[in-house]
Symmetry: C2
Subunit: 348 residues, 2 copies
């Protein structure tokens, strides 16, 4: 009547195998020793099929956002897929104006993936969740055969509470509104690309990956008439503004000279034939607000560590074509279009 023996996890030299997704002892062990220990909190400890959680306060609404993370490489200057998976989803909840409350996390592991790498990613994820104050309350672990995945994919889903009376949406921009960015553009995407292409610079380009709900709260407090926030991830500022233009039925005119770009990012973009406006960010906000609140908003963002290089970069205009255009440094105008996406796969 002896129970099957499961050997202890070898977190130094071991690797993921198919039994870690099979629903048996090996899976239970991986979940408890790797995920459970790192994410530990009262809800996860319940160990049931779902987490039972306090709901938002009276009159508040729920905000739910989900993102799969498939970034390659898994580790990059400034972060890794683990913290990115926390930040990305926290930010999608935060830009809706909500307080992020809880995260669910599902993992698709490839057979053969080193347990040491997994543990490092999970530790980074747990640290990011703790720092953001948003616990991972439930999860899932699947394993696919070697060659049917790529190390690890992580889907996070965020749940937040939207305070009574608040409404931010990409559909709220109006002609005359100011367009503001919270800092330099293109850092995350170029950190990934530079590592992939083995570009060498004087100093490393680092991802800006960060949780932005603190910065979003600052923005909402500084600009009571705030129309919307967005995190310009895949497709960069260009895609985000085109989306907003479509949703709101306005045009946008940017001022190239006002757009903050790190000189190394600019150099890398030029080298690779890319435009920083098309490159993904993971720690930046776009804000649209009434013109008369723009100065206060920029000042408030600049006073926050994550918004030091905030700038007013353009305005929404009446335009039935819903074009996004840019006044160039040379005094001309050009269209700012979505990029055709093949060039930058697996950036987040």
């Amino acid at each position: 009547m002896k129970k099957n023996y499961v050997r202890p996890l070898d977190l130094r030299h071991g690797s993921v195998d198919l039994s870690h997704g099979g629903g048996g002892r090996a899976m239970v062990q991986l979940i408890s020793d790797v995920f459970g220990k790192a994410f530990d909190n009262e809800w996860l400890r319940q160990g049931d099929d779902g987490a039972v959680l306090p709901a938002p306060g009276p009159g508040e609404r729920l905000v739910v956002a989900t993102d799969a993370h498939v970034v390659s490489p898994l580790f990059f200057p400034g972060g890794d897929i683990g913290c990115l998976a926390v930040h990305g989803t926290v930010n999608d909840v935060a830009v809706m104006g909500a307080r992020p409350l809880y995260l669910a996390a599902s993992f698709i592991l490839e057979e053969g993936f080193p347990l040491a790498d997994l543990a490092r990613i999970v530790a980074s994820m747990a640290a990011a969740a703790r720092e953001a104050g948003v616990p991972v309350v439930t999860g899932d672990t699947k394993v696919v055969e070697k060659g049917k995945g790529d190390g690890v994919f992580i889907t996070t889903t965020g749940i937040g509470a939207l305070p009574v009376g608040r409404s931010l949406s990409g559909a709220n921009a109006r002609a005359g509104d100011a367009v503001i960015v919270s800092g330099t553009l293109g850092d995350h995407g170029m950190a990934i690309m530079a590592q992939r292409e083995n570009l060498a610079f004087d100093s490393e380009i680092r991802s800006d990956t960060a949780a932005l709900h603190g910065l979003a709260a600052v923005a909402m407090a500084a600009a009571p008439g705030l129309r919307l926030l967005r995190d310009p991830t895949r497709g960069g500022l260009a895609a985000t503004l085109n989306e907003i233009a479509q949703q709101s039925g306005v045009g946008v005119v940017l001022d190239e000279a006002a757009i903050p770009v790190d000189p190394q990012v600019a150099a890398a973009c030029e080298f690779l034939g890319l435009d920083p406006l098309n490159i993904a960010n993971e720690g930046k906000l776009i804000a649209v607000c009434p013109a008369d609140e723009a100065d206060a908003l920029v000042a408030a963002l600049r006073a926050h560590p994550l918004g030091a290089r905030a700038a007013r970069v353009g305005e929404a205009i009446a335009d039935d074509h819903r074009f996004v255009q840019m006044k160039t440094a040379f005094g001309g105008r050009r269209m700012v279009d979505w990029l055709a996406g093949e060039q930058l796969p697996r950036i987040c």
Copy 2:
């Protein structure tokens, strides 16, 4: 000033390419034409970074569950990865005693995956969500290079509302409680295995995949003292009962003769050297309730189309070892252990 042209999606002969995950026009088009049309609802139509949703009623708590779905093959007798991804997560919310309210869905697509297959899967998912009354309110779409994924992986996250005063948990079972199953065991897993191994039977083994919140409501109404519900997915009844035994600090004794198994499933299991107790189900509930409520519970389940073959199959006992055992048809006893998981990868 003409905008980049994006050719229409060829849903018959086209396939997924890297641009469908790149954050540009091709992605927006795929999301709106394939996912948006199929899942259509007021929340998804908002088109923002997260969905803004009514919260549960006063005093209710949230229940959140998440599962990645990596089943292979993608289409199988009785279902496909699309409806499975809805049912699996709805069921994890339902077994907590909650009303499932919303789903988030994230897709990891492999470059080259036929759009026709994707559309079929999404249609099945949309139909399952509609039938269950649980809309897909937000989503995400990523694409990985050929050979870095396997067609499509789908992670769903479910959000439900737990009525005031209700508490079901794997930790609630007590010695003397009855253990009930809602029907035959092993159907889902054997449908997948039979297809994979190309086994031929008189009639096809079909997956039992189904949304169980209706059946769960029936169980809660029939047995006011209900301790817990579980869906015995990966690892089957054996894994689920071992989990419950661990959580509750009890033993379990099953009665082999009482356990319903379809004869074809039994035959396939025997052929492959598997035990139906270790095989995944996707449309069955385990219920544990006080012994004096067991008959009423079984009768109520049997009156529901998804519970026609419900049966009382065992009881919880005092046992410091927390063993799960079975009285065999021959009058002996054997241990019912977790299966080592390699044998049955990618069953859900």
